[in-house]
Symmetry: C2
Subunit: 136 residues, 2 copies
Amino acid sequence: MQTEEEILKIKKVKNTAVRTVVLRHLLAQEKAQSLKDIENALAYTDRSSIFRTLKTFEENKVIHSIEDGSGMTKYAVCAEGCNCEPKDLHYHFYCTNCSKTFCLVDLPIPHIKLPENFKLHQANMVVKGLCDKCNK
Amino acid sequence: MQTEEEILKIKKVKNTAVRTVVLRHLLAQEKAQSLKDIENALAYTDRSSIFRTLKTFEENKVIHSIEDGSGMTKYAVCAEGCNCEPKDLHYHFYCTNCSKTFCLVDLPIPHIKLPENFKLHQANMVVKGLCDKCNK
DNA sequence: TAATGTTTGCAATCGAGTTGCGCTAATACC
DNA sequence: GGTATTAGCGCAACTCGATTGCAAACATTA
């Protein structure tokens, strides 16, 4: 397990107080977090600072973002060695009851045969339903 | 090809002027449409009326919605016989250049093995890149 | 026809995301 | 060390898609 400092160093992102606490929070969660989730967890850090931190992290592939259809973009730390290329992508599961988003990292996305001359760059795969806790 | 009236009858949605023009517009497009797209196309129909019409259509499975990550939900008419169940789902392609969303209806979603006790209800699969027109 | 329910248009509101700006901290340069 | 330059931060304001309250118009039923 890498520390926040190690991750930032590897991804060539300068370390700051805000970046450390945001990344620490993301590492501590097992579910992808929205801007609001992070804002609530870090009471003394401004929303726009968190927002810009997330942008920086995403540009430098520290984290990846997920559009789960909840209306809020969620963020999760990339796995070690991830370059956010199609081959690094995985499915996400969004629980429609508890609104949590799970990274299904063990479920790689199969090869997708696109129509002629289409070029694949990215993918956002979200399956929705009930998670184990809500499926009672 | 079914007419608007036939579709609404089958899906048990009462026909009205707004519903007819919205559905006609959606049927005439080959790309999924956003609320704004529809609003622009139907100059004399109020946005909130279109919005509520889309909600009604979605509830009654006349259309399905797609979150393509553009920030605007897009809508497309369901194929005949579609019940918006997992087996009816398909991938969508979002062109990051022209912002158009394509339904890849010929590309069914493979069976997804979820973790223990997770229940699949829906899926929102969007691959992103360049469409044939923009991939030059 | 009267009563009731549904649909529509307008205006206002909500909320996630984003930006401008001034201050402060860090870094580079002399 | 001292000063100039750059980067990061916090606050407040703003954007824009989505949503709602309300009253008028329309449709349905008794």
